[in-house]
């Protein structure tokens, strides 16, 4: 962390690093944008804005994926998340008629803020713990560049990770069945519930 700030402030940039200064500043800007967008998600009172900010955040992350040699994932991120999932969100918002949420400062919010602040600090401090057991793989960026991101992932996925992949497909099937049953059959309360 400190190293990073040093680099940032002193412009004493090492040419031998993987990224050039230009690339680095792009990464930095996009990363900051992602953070800002996520803040927007949380802070906007109207769900529709939150959704839009979330799309922004996802696009930023997709771009960062590109910068980290994960072109396939970037594409998937845009298509699945920013495309499918967020559209679903927007549909629901449209369907339910999103109301603006009143701002209030409750004990819950205060506790949330402080705990999350603590969490954030701890996450940052967790960087100093260091690697537990570093896995140095053979798939360097160069290899990926050679083969192509999608193909590399495909080879990996269908060789070493075939079982999780199949399970994921099963999961999607279950989800499909689930939403059909949820949407198709109306919910009848077992007994009258009282709110306290």
């Amino acid at each position: 962390m400190m190293e990073f700030l040093d680099q940032l402030l002193s412009f004493n940039l090492d040419r031998e690093t993987v990224f050039g200064l230009f690339e680095q500043s792009i990464v930095f800007i996009i990363g900051m944008t992602a953070i800002l967008a996520s803040l927007g998600v949380v802070l906007c009172a109207t769900p529709i804005y939150s959704a839009l900010y979330l799309i922004g955040n996802m696009v930023c992350l997709a771009m960062l994926f590109l910068m980290f040699n994960a072109e396939f994932l970037a594409a998937v991120q845009v298509v699945v998340y920013a495309g499918a999932v967020m559209i679903l969100f927007l549909f629901i918002i449209a369907l339910l008629g999103a109301k603006k949420e009143g701002r209030e400062f409750s004990f819950q919010n205060f506790m949330g803020l402080s705990f999350v602040g603590l969490l954030f600090c701890e996450l940052l401090m967790a960087m100093m713990v260091g690697k537990t057991r570093p896995v140095e793989g053979k798939v360097t960026p160069e290899v990926i560049q050679q083969v192509g991101s999608a193909k590399a992932i495909g080879i990996e996925l269908f060789s070493n990770h075939i079982v999780p992949f199949e399970l994921a497909s099963l999961l999607l099937l279950v989800a499909a069945v689930g939403i059909i049953s949820l949407a198709k059959f109306t919910y009848k309360p077992m007994r009258k519930r009282t709110r306290t």
């Binding site: 819950q108 506790m111 949330g112 705990f115 969490l119 701890e122 401090m125 967790a126 713990v129």
Partner: protein, 623 residues
């Protein structure tokens, strides 16, 4: 022949079992005769034992132990149910079964109208069995067993008329008092076992003179604890209050248990344990003191009571006091001699009183009697003989035994002039109350003209006559008793009373009592009223038995109940129960506080998760 001794136990027991299991099927009187036959059989077996003892030389008469069966064997402790035949036990058994037999016969007449006739005889047989066990026991354990069983029989018979509330209460009182004594004896048995490693009489008494030195703490404690049992059973101060109340039972019971046999068990115990008591002179003094004080105490109370049976009951206490005086000063055989003569004349008096009550249709208040000498001549004569014997009129049985006690009180090993003086006073009192009773009951004119007293049937009068004869001539057995019992009381010596002056004083005291009674009750009511007026406070105290019952009620019964209530309310409900409940309640309160977390709101759960994450990360980072 000694091997037949188990019959003495078996016959009454068989009678008890037969009568209690199949009592309903017996024709009424048959049950009574059956029970009497059982006791008579036991008496005959005892006579056999007596003959057997006489066949041996005096030194060989001791320690014939018959083992029946092993009772318990524990670590370092074993007990056999065994029987000890020696002169003392045979002598005591003769009294028990002999007098017991007569009273059984008498009861057939007395209890004739009772609808639970057989049950009564079952209990009487149980009593004879228990008393025989007490007497025959060869170790302290079975002594205690018999001791408690006679208490049970006494309880059952006092409370025989179960629908009378007073009888029920009196029975309970007697039982509880005797349990106190039992506990004392049990503890004494523990101490004996601790010191001798056995409870067997023979071994204990053999070892006693060497195991202790005189007035050793241990031997004092043992003898005193045994004494608690003896005093409770023999109604000596301060455990005497049950005996007068015990007169609620049928009169034969009073005669058998509360005059002739059971209440003298304390004397028997001290005599039996003479080897121990000779090692504890302090206890001997205590026994003698308590005995003579009880004699005066009971005699003074007896002087003013109006219930015919209670007067005799107090005289019983008083006479047992004399016996304790005798054994206390160290002349055991004289104590046993008085025990025997007392059994004769006191059983006689009670039975005669029973005859009076029977004839007066269950009237016991002597103020409502009078002039019975015409209606009940046999009873009158026998009662007179009994009274003379009790008062110690010269040449009756009571004269010999009591005279010897009074003389020994001065001259025996532990005797002194104070005991003698107090005994003289008690003797005077005896004469007085005996003849007061006699005059009230038989002399003068009838005070309740509507009553129609009648003489009792011969089944009742024959035992009276037998006992009367024994009361007259029983005193002549004195030397025989000393000879016969001397092997048992080897260590104890008789006093030599050659002081004629003292003898004369003693006789004069007895006669003086009688004459005073004559003077007050025969010559007119003026002196009586005057005397009552003059001595009003004393009279009140005597009439209320020195308020001992009230004092006990205040000192013991009320606090016990109060503490019981206190324990139940405070310690149990508000103490232990409350604190235990509070533990549960507090846990519930704390849980209720914690259960706020469980609000069902997702955001709070999420917050908890975040908090958990924070905590886990803390560990990850810093550990």
């Amino acid at each position: 022949m000694y091997s037949l001794s188990w019959l003495i136990l078996f016959l009454p027991m068989a009678g008890f079992l037969t009568l209690s299991w199949s009592g309903k099927r017996f024709p009424k009187l048959t049950g009574g005769w059956f029970a009497s036959a059982m006791v008579g059989g036991a008496f005959l077996v005892t006579l056999l034992m007596l003959a057997q003892l006489y066949a041996e030389s005096p030194a060989d008469r001791l320690n014939h132990v018959q083992t029946l069966y092993p009772w318990v064997v524990s670590e370092g402790f074993s007990l056999n149910l065994s029987i000890l035949i020696d002169p003392l036990s045979v002598f005591m058994l003769l009294v028990v079964t002999g007098v017991g037999f007569l009273i059984h016969v008498y009861s057939i007449g007395y209890m004739h109208h009772d609808k639970e006739f057989t049950r009564f005889f079952a209990y009487l047989n149980l009593f004879i069995f228990s008393m025989s066990l007490l007497v025959l026991a060869a170790d302290f354990f079975f002594l205690i067993v018999g001791w408690a069983l006679v208490g049970l029989a006494s309880y059952l018979l006092i409370g025989f008329w179960t629908d009378r509330k007073t009888a029920v209460l009196a029975a309970r009182k007697a039982f509880v008092m005797n349990v106190i004594g039992d506990v004392g004896m049990v503890i004494a048995a523990f101490m004996i076992f601790e010191h001798f490693g056995t409870l067997n009489y023979v071994e204990v008494f053999k070892a006693a003179p060497t195991a202790f030195f005189p007035n050793d703490d241990n031997v004092l404690l043992i003898t005193l604890l045994l004494l608690v049992g003896a005093f409770a059973k023999s109604a000596q101060l301060p455990l005497h209050t049950w005996l007068p109340d015990a007169m609620e039972g049928p009169t034969p019971v009073s005669a058998l248990i509360h005059a002739a046999t059971m209440v003298t068990a304390g004397v028997y115990l001290v005599a039996r344990c003479n080897a121990l008591y000779m090692m504890a002179p302090f206890t001997m003094y205590l026994i003698a003191s308590v005995g003579v004080i009880t004699a005066i105490f009971a005699g003074s109370v007896g002087m003013v009571q109006y219930d015919i049976k209670r007067v005799i009951a107090y005289s019983t206490m008083s006479q047992i006091g004399f016996m304790f005086l005798a054994v206390g000063v160290g002349v055991f055989s004289i104590g046993m001699f008085h025990l025997m003569t007392h059994a004769f004349f006191k059983a006689l008096l009670f039975l005669a009183a029973g005859s009076v009550i029977h004839g007066m249709s269950d009237e016991q208040d002597i103020r409502k009697m009078g002039g019975l000498r015409y209606a009940m001549p046999v009873t009158f004569i026998t009662f007179l003989i009994g009274s003379l014997a009790l008062a110690g009129f010269p040449l009756t049985a009571g004269f010999f035994s009591k005279e010897e006690i009074v003389m020994s009180a001065y001259s025996a090993q532990y005797g002194n002039i104070v005991f003698w003086g107090l005994a003289i006073i008690a003797v005077g009192m005896t004469g007085f109350y005996t003849f007061r009773l006699f005059f009230y009951t038989f002399m003068g004119q009838s005070r309740t003209p509507e009553a129609h007293p009648h003489e009792s049937p011969s089944v009742m009068t024959v035992p009276l006559m037998v006992l009367a004869a024994l009361s007259l001539v029983g005193g002549l057995l004195g030397p025989w008793v000393h000879d016969f019992l001397s092997p048992v009381f080897g260590g104890a010596t008789l006093g030599h009373h050659d002081d004629t002056m003292m003898e004369i004083v003693a006789v004069a005291a007895a006669l003086g009592g009688i004459i005073t009674a004559v003077a007050i009750y025969m010559t007119g009511k003026d002196q009586l009223a005057f005397a009552k007026q003059m001595l009003a406070p004393i009279y009140e105290a005597l009439y209320n038995k020195y308020y001992v019952d009230e004092i006990y009620d205040f000192l013991i019964v009320k606090p016990v109940k109060g503490i019981g209530k206190f324990l139940e309310e405070r310690a149990e409900k508000q103490g232990i129960d409350f604190s235990v409940d509070q533990v549960g309640k507090q846990v519930r309160e704390v849980s209720r506080g914690i259960s706020i977390w469980q609000s069902g709101k997702v955001r709070i759960y999420a917050l908890n998760m975040v908090a958990g994450m924070v905590t886990i990360l803390l560990f990850v980072i810093f550990l």
